[in-house]
């Protein structure tokens, strides 16, 4: 027992030696203290004077020292919680490098919430600047992808009230949007997977600055439509409803029906949409869309001298008709711009791989002529708390 005891002691000493050597020489390469990094929460990309350069705006979260001696000046709380930095250069990371010289702290991109492209840059083309967001190790895929209706810089510089940092407030807005439907917000992965698909075209929400009574706030309304990687058009909020209905994945959506006898407001939920591409014998392609769902009647106006049993079927038929109408004019808008924002191309590719080889190169001609036959059945299952409304007399 004694003899190998000394060798084990030698061994322990030498292992400690090795470990200490490596640990002491480690220059802690990757270690960056929290107060030496500037946390980038939003990135905006706009066009700049000469064509192949871009104007990058980065919104950096500022930290007030909460504890300790530096307490006094932050009591005011008036100064905002973020600062905006700008740089123009050929590439995005080189822009960050040039920004770095002005800012003492190294930019930290892991906590970036949004990527906003200015309108002109979107129209000029997006693909060339997406590469860094996939390749650079600090970029994450679940970042929100937005298009500004004017300049991305204005979006990032606006001081919103509820959430001090406007990029975070944007991600909050987008999170409420999903109460309506998942397909309203687009993260980088969805956008890129649409870009890769040869036939389908990408889509991204548009954000704009709105003037409130005494505050300015950000609103996400409308969708930008991209053809290949250039923005070609815009969907108004009405047409977006049609887009939402075709894409499915809806949690709950308000429906507003105005007829001559009266006006009704309903909330649709528990909606199942199934979209099946169909290729008839003679080569004509069409898409059958089946929507089943339930609605709750929330508000009625007018309909005097009619009782509930007549109103409900009336509203039901009107609701089905309205959804069909929304889908149609969204489709017509998309077909006008000849950009397949619904991903019908991929649906055909997935369900008919053999025929798809021939369809693929003819898709630009086929898509404008595509028909959608809809089969919508939304029933009102719950008329709300009260049965007959005030001005209805109960007809026997």
């Amino acid at each position: 027992m004694k003899k190998n005891f000394t060798t084990s002691v030698n061994r322990i000493i030498s292992v400690i030696l090795c470990l200490s050597i490596t640990l002491l020489t480690t220059g802690c390469w990757d270690s960056k203290e929290i107060d030496t990094i500037s946390i980038v929460t939003g990135i905006g990309i706009d066009t700049s004077q000469n064509p192949d350069e871009i104007n990058l705006t980065a919104q950096i979260g500022k930290t007030q020292p909460s504890g300790g001696a530096l307490q006094q000046d932050s009591a005011g709380g008036d100064n905002d919680s973020f600062l905006v930095m700008e740089a123009t250069s050929k590439g995005i990371l080189s822009a960050f490098e040039s920004m770095n010289t002005k800012n003492s702290r190294t930019p930290f991109l892991q906590h970036n919430q949004v990527i906003i492209f200015g309108k002109e840059q979107a129209e000029k083309g997006v693909q060339s600047y997406i590469d860094v967001f996939l390749r650079y190790y600090q970029m994450r895929m679940e970042v929100w992808f937005l298009v500004a209706d004017s300049k991305a810089k204005d979006i990032l510089t606006v001081k919103t009230q509820p959430e001090k940092n406007s990029a975070i407030s944007l991600s909050e807005i987008l999170r409420d949007e999903t109460n309506i439907s998942e397909s309203l917000r687009i993260n980088l992965k969805d956008f890129v997977s649409r870009l890769i698909e040869p036939t389908s075209s990408a889509i991204a929400p548009i954000v704009s600055v709105q003037k409130g009574i005494d505050t300015t706030f950000l609103a996400v309304d409308g969708m930008a439509i991209f053809k290949k990687d250039k923005m070609v058009g815009q969907l108004t909020s009405k047409q977006i409803d049609g887009y939402i209905w075709t894409m499915g994945r809806i949690k709950e959506i308000p429906l507003e029906i105005s007829l001559d006898p009266g006006y009704g407001n309903m909330q649709a939920f528990n909606i199942k949409c199934s979209m099946k591409p169909i290729i008839q014998k003679d080569g004509v392609i069409s898409v059958s869309l089946q929507i089943r769902g339930q609605m709750v009647l929330d508000e009625i106006k007018g309909f005097d001298s009619m009782n509930l049993n007549e109103i409900v079927p009336l509203l039901q038929r009107a609701a089905n008709e309205k959804v069909h109408q929304d889908i149609m004019n969204c489709l017509s808008e998309a077909q006008r711009l000849n950009s397949d924002i619904f991903g019908f191309g991929t649906a055909f590719h997935r369900n008919y791989p053999k025929e798809w080889k021939s369809l693929k190169n003819k898709w630009d001609q086929l898509f404008p002529k595509l028909k959608i036959n809809t089969d919508i059945k939304l029933e009102i299952i719950n008329p709300g708390k009260i049965g007959a409304s005030l001005n209805m007399e109960d007809k026997k």
């Binding site: 060798t7 030698n10 061994r11 030498s14 030696l17 090795c18 050597i21 020489t25």
Partner: protein, 70 residues
């Protein structure tokens, strides 16, 4: 470079001292052979000499001579 040499010195200290004490020369010879190849290769690598990798060589051999490749 100094780290590499220091590391190999430590390995020699740990492994070869007991072997020499126990006078197992056959083992010392075999382990020494592997140790030397390790030292030579690492010195060459650290000083920047490009060492052809056996896997790439075998891969080319398979592709060109036996045409066995995808």
């Amino acid at each position: 470079m100094p780290y590499v040499i220091f590391a190999f010195l430590v390995i020699a200290l740990i492994d070869f001292l007991p072997l020499i004490k126990q006078k197992k020369y056959k083992e010392l010879f075999c382990v020494g052979a592997f140790f030397i190849t390790g030292v030579v290769l690492s010195i060459l690598y650290v000083s920047g000499v490009v060492i052809p990798s056996p896997m790439v060589l075998l891969g080319d051999f398979l592709k060109k001579v036996l045409h066995l490749s995808y």
